[in-house]
């Protein structure tokens, strides 16, 4: 129902987003993932009509939204990356304000506020000032404010950034319920792969302003089907050893952190014996060794040569 066609955005000549095409079908839950500065927020801002693309089109049910934003704004709820709240007001007062700008009032507004507070689990703290809340609770108010007008599409921009695991689980459950019970279409942005894996049917991977891969989890994992991920624990760190591992025939990537070595290599390559041989040469032991099924993190590593977060 919502799609972007080759949208690009430059800020003062610097490309932030380039030729991004993505779509959201009714009732889907879609993830948008990428490291810092990948262009996720910029893409979301364009979809939500807050900024205009430098080029490209955005369509809602086939109709262009860029110059006629009213329709999409009506059915869209946006949870911004920043805490767009009045810290000096209570949770309730914030929601009252954000509801009244949507022209809700009286009983109806009151009901919607209480419903939104229930959804995010803050009904009992509604009279408290937002500035007295924990990071996780603030994030939840931030979500509640986007739910008042019962949007058909909910866009969340890194809603779990910098908060405790408990609040994080709460938020993930909230989003899942909105999607599964209420049929809300979700576009969920994060740089935590495991969140997106849990929550989303499909995902887009962005890096340096471009979508570098897209599809369902299975489709993305199949990128790695021809490969094995091998993890080894070493007795000591040796840079020369790592460099040599990279030159083994069939090895795509070799990354070491602390004493952990992670290798992605073509299936069927003679990796293990080569590895043991090299370890001998460098006088180090391989303490532990196992082959893993690839994860989406591995997909990202495969595509970009980097991990999502350092």
């Amino acid at each position: 129902m919502l799609e972007t066609i080759n949208v690009s955005k430059s800020f003062k000549g610097k490309k932030a987003v380039q030729d991004v095409s993505l779509y959201l079908d009714n009732g889907e839950s879609v993830g948008l993932i990428g490291p810092n500065g990948a262009g996720k927020s910029t893409t979301i801002s364009m979809i939500s009509t807050l900024i205009k693309p430098t080029s490209g089109e955005i369509k809602l049910n086939g109709a262009n939204t860029i110059n006629k934003p009213e329709k999409i704004r009506k059915i869209l709820g946006v949870v911004p990356q920043e805490l767009a709240l009045y810290q000096e007001l209570s949770a309730y007062e914030n929601l009252k304000f954000f509801g009244s700008i949507y022209k809700m009032k009286g009983n109806d507004l009151e009901k919607r506020i209480q419903r939104a507070l229930e959804i995010v689990g803050l009904a009992d703290r509604q009279k408290d000032l937002v500035k007295t809340f924990s990071g996780g609770m603030k994030r939840r108010v931030n979500i509640a404010a986007a739910l008042l007008h019962r949007p058909q599409i909910l866009i969340l921009d890194e809603p779990t950034v910098g908060i405790d695991p408990q609040s994080r689980n709460h938020i993930l459950e909230t989003v899942r319920a909105l999607n599964e019970k209420d049929g809300t279409t979700i576009l969920y942005t994060s740089h935590y792969m495991e969140e997106v894996e849990q929550l989303c049917d499909r995902l887009y991977i962005m890096d340096y302003g471009e979508v570098i891969a897209a599809g369902t989890k299975a489709e993305l994992l199949s990128i790695l089907q021809a490969e094995d991920t091998v993890k080894a624990e070493l007795s000591k760190m040796d840079e020369a050893f790592i460099q040599q591992v990279k030159t083994i025939d069939g090895v795509r990537k070799a990354e070491a952190s602390h004493l952990q070595l992670k290798i992605i290599a073509k299936k069927g390559s003679n990796l293990i014996s080569e590895l043991v041989h090299l370890a001998d040469q460098h006088q180090l032991q391989i303490i532990n060794f196992h082959t893993e099924t690839p994860s989406l993190e591995d997909v990202f590593l495969h595509l970009t040569g980097r991990t999502l977060r350092d």
Binding site: L50, I51, R73, L76, A84, E88, L89, S100, I101
Partner: protein, 382 residues
């Protein structure tokens, strides 16, 4: 744009402005001390600098010439023509000591045809006010002497006769004619400080636009059915209301609690204040249009605003600033026009008709500054 304005007064649009007003008010209600401080600040400034309107400031005068007492007597009579200043002959040592210790801001040393100000600092508005007054008296005396010595015999008598019995009433200050209205510098200073403080208040309220843009609240409003005009109007209207509340409170305290001489036509003065407030809010919007962040506004605004009354001549006798560049700059700010209008209401009984021109100029400044300011802000967002 025009349709939007119509929309605002209609049933549909009204709610938005109300919502913005409500949120801004709810925030301030949590912190009522701030607005009370602005009101108290005004009154305090008035007490400190305007020096209480009824009791004139006492200025020590003395001479160390040979014929000291003759010189002192002569100038004492000539200097004591201003209601707000009282010149008193004091022992030279004592006068200097008082200034040195900070008991007095200024003393005047007299010579036959010249004078010298003894002051710890030239910066104080009261000092420059004394200087102006004394300067004018000495200048007039020098002119009279010059005319007399070049042949005219009874010039002084003639001038005084002329002023008392002028062929037509002059709207000017005479030597010490009773018929001419008394200009009261303290009253002018009172308004100058009141406006100065309200400029700070309204500026910080206008800056809430930038604050909310940075926090993302503004984006939430954009995504809602609120029109841009409705959003800006909400903030502008709130700044206006809170500033008017502060101004009117201060004026009422001055007039009815402290019994200061701030004029009889309070309604007209409030009307002029309202035009001033709108106009200055627009200037603040214009400044907001130039800055990138609320912090930058906090840095720039408070350093620019204190200059406005200074170049507008609000601390000096009217007509003191003659440099045409300065006058031009001052005219770009509403303060000069508001002060002019209010002083003419207070001292010359001007009516609505008489101040209409000033009101229109302030309105014009307001509309132009607002237009440019909002345009700049909108363009920045790209």
């Amino acid at each position: 744009m025009y349709r939007d304005w119509l929309n605002l007064v209609s049933e549909k649009g009204e709610g938005i402005v109300k919502a913005v007003l409500w949120a801004q008010f709810a925030k301030d209600k949590r912190n009522p001390v701030v607005i009370l401080l602005y009101i108290a600040g005004c009154i305090l400034a008035a007490l400190l600098f305007a020096g209480g309107v009824q009791s004139p400031s006492v200025i020590a005068i003395f001479s160390e010439e040979e014929n000291a007492s003759e010189i002192e007597k002569k100038w004492e009579a000539l200097l004591n023509t201003d209601d707000s200043l009282q010149f008193v002959i004091v022992d030279p040592e004592e006068a200097r000591e008082n200034v040195r210790k900070g008991n007095a801001e200024v003393a005047v040393e007299l010579m036959q045809m010249d004078y010298r100000l003894i002051a710890a600092s030239e910066e104080l508005p009261s000092v420059s006010y004394v200087q102006q007054h004394v300067g004018i008296v000495f200048q007039q005396e020098a002119q009279i002497n010059a005319v007399e010595s070049s042949g005219g015999s009874n010039v002084r008598q003639e001038i005084e006769n002329y002023l008392e019995d002028a062929p037509f009433q002059l709207e000017a200050r005479g030597l010490d004619s009773e018929a001419v209205p008394q200009y009261n510098m303290s009253t002018q200073l009172l308004y100058a400080f009141t406006f100065l403080i309200s400029m700070f208040l309204l500026g910080f309220k206008v800056n809430n636009v930038t604050n909310d843009k940075v926090s993302g609240v503004w984006n939430r409003m954009i995504l809602s059915p609120v029109s841009k005009t409705g959003m800006y109007s909400g903030y502008i209207f709130y700044s206006f209301l809170i500033t008017m509340f502060q101004l009117v409170s201060v004026l009422i305290v001055f007039k009815y609690v402290m019994n200061y001489e701030i004029g009889d036509n309070l309604w007209l003065i409030i009307l002029i204040s309202a035009f001033f407030t709108f106009s200055m809010i627009s200037i603040a919007m214009l400044i907001t249009g130039f800055v990138k962040s609320p912090e930058q506004f906090y840095a720039i605004y408070p350093s620019v605003i204190p200059l406005v009354p200074l170049i507008s001549g609000a601390y000096m006798m009217p007509g003191t600033i003659t440099n045409s560049a300065l006058v031009f700059i001052a005219d770009l700010f509403p303060m000069a026009h508001a002060m002019e209008a209010i002083m003419s209401v207070v001292f010359y009984d001007a009516g609505l008709q008489d101040v209409m021109m000033s009101l229109m100029v302030m309105l014009l400044i307001g509309v132009v500054a607002m237009g440019i300011g909002i345009n700049l802000m909108e363009r920045r967002r790209g």
